[in-house]
């Protein structure tokens, strides 16, 4: 591009604000990830019932935090990047929270047991008593 470049005397170190000197953290994270995978596999096959989801999600969050912070260098990123990531997560949480909250707090007849039921494209299965009669 520009031919009229003037030499710069800036030291090279400027371009690497955070040189990392060792691959050990990556190795540790990798091992930790494998460990956590094993853990989630074990807890997953224990059929924990109501606890299965929170446990699995907690482990997944821990794993993704490791990936984001170490592998993706969030620990050495600028504030703006961290903010971007955090904001995205906040909005994901919002989307999921309000949508599920809607489904969870609808009036109880909204989707009676036996749904899916009666639309033009599939004939009703398991109709309730007092269901709107068909022609």
């Amino acid at each position: 591009m520009a031919e009229s470049a003037t030499p710069s005397s800036k030291p090279d170190a400027d371009h690497q604000p955070h040189p990392s000197h060792s691959a050990v953290p990556y190795l540790v994270v990798w091992l930790a990830l494998l460990g956590l995978t094993a853990l989630t596999y074990i807890t997953g096959s224990m059929h924990l019932g109501a606890w299965a989801l929170p446990v699995a999600l907690t482990i997944a969050t821990a794993k993704s935090a490791l990936v984001a912070v170490i592998f993706m260098h969030l620990n050495e990123s600028s504030g703006a990047t961290r903010l971007v990531f955090a904001t995205a997560l906040v909005f994901v949480a919002l989307l999921i929270f309000f949508t599920v909250a809607d489904v969870a707090t609808r009036f109880k007849l909204a989707t009676p047991a036996g749904a899916p039921f009666g639309t033009e494209r599939s004939q009703p299965e398991g109709l309730l008593e007092n269901q709107v009669p068909d022609e």
Binding site: A5, L33, A56, A88
Partner: protein, 218 residues
């Protein structure tokens, strides 16, 4: 106009004319990439929302259908993807420390793992086709006949499918980066391109880290 690219002995065109320094430009690239990753996160968020809603509506169907997925293959794929993520991280590390050959080797390993991931996924898909455990109107899986099971498979295919598309996209990005690495474009002075590709690949991994428990484990 001060221009550092030549002074640093970097290939032409690395530093664009409107940036005052390479450092600034790298920061811009990194921020841009993270913003792009944020859009990817929200893209998947739509499907996760769908998952959350239908799991709430059909808890038993989801548990039942989830148990019929091949958990061994799922776990294998998790390990494969985590390892590939690790090797990408290593690749960037080697590029940063001026070891381009090691960096390239790591990328090759990553690509192989990515292929393995797709292979395993293909095996799983073939199994589903065989069992007619297919989404929506094609659902005719004998083993799970609970209302809502079809929805589980719809979500399963949409989520893994979209993720698969990202794996393929990531592979092409990484192949290109591999080529550039072999050309010796990345060194301690400039490795941003590789870093961006790496970030993308880590995101693919990140999404899978959530897909794995949600689809296979509960």
């Amino acid at each position: 106009m001060s221009h550092e690219a030549d002074a640093l002995g970097l290939p032409r065109g690395i530093l664009a004319h409107h940036f005052s320094s390479l450092e600034r430009q790298n920061e811009a690239m990194r921020l841009g990439m993270w913003l792009f990753l944020a859009t990817e996160i929200l893209l998947f968020a739509g499907l996760f929302t769908g998952y959350a809603v239908y799991r709430f509506q059909f808890p038993l169907a989801f548990q039942e259908a989830s148990r019929h997925l091949n958990i061994t293959l799922g776990t294998l794929n998790t390990v494969v993807l985590i390892t590939s993520s690790f090797s990408v991280a290593l690749s960037i590390f080697y590029a940063r420390t001026d070891r381009p050959r090691a960096a390239a080797l790591c990328l090759v390993v990553t690509l192989l793992f990515a292929l393995a991931f797709l292979g395993v996924k293909a095996v799983e898909y073939a199994e589903h086709f065989h069992e007619h455990a297919l989404p929506g109107k094609y659902y005719a899986y004998e083993a799970v006949k609970v209302p809502g099971a079809a929805m589980f498979y719809t979500l399963y295919f949409l989520m893994t499918g979209l993720h698969g598309v990202h794996v393929v996209a990531g592979m092409s990005v990484l192949s290109w980066l591999l080529w550039r690495t072999l050309q010796g474009r990345y060194s301690s002075r400039y490795y941003t391109g590789l870093e961006m590709g790496g970030l993308y690949w880590h995101l693919v991994d990140l999404v899978w880290i959530f897909l794995y428990p949600l689809l296979y484990l509960i």
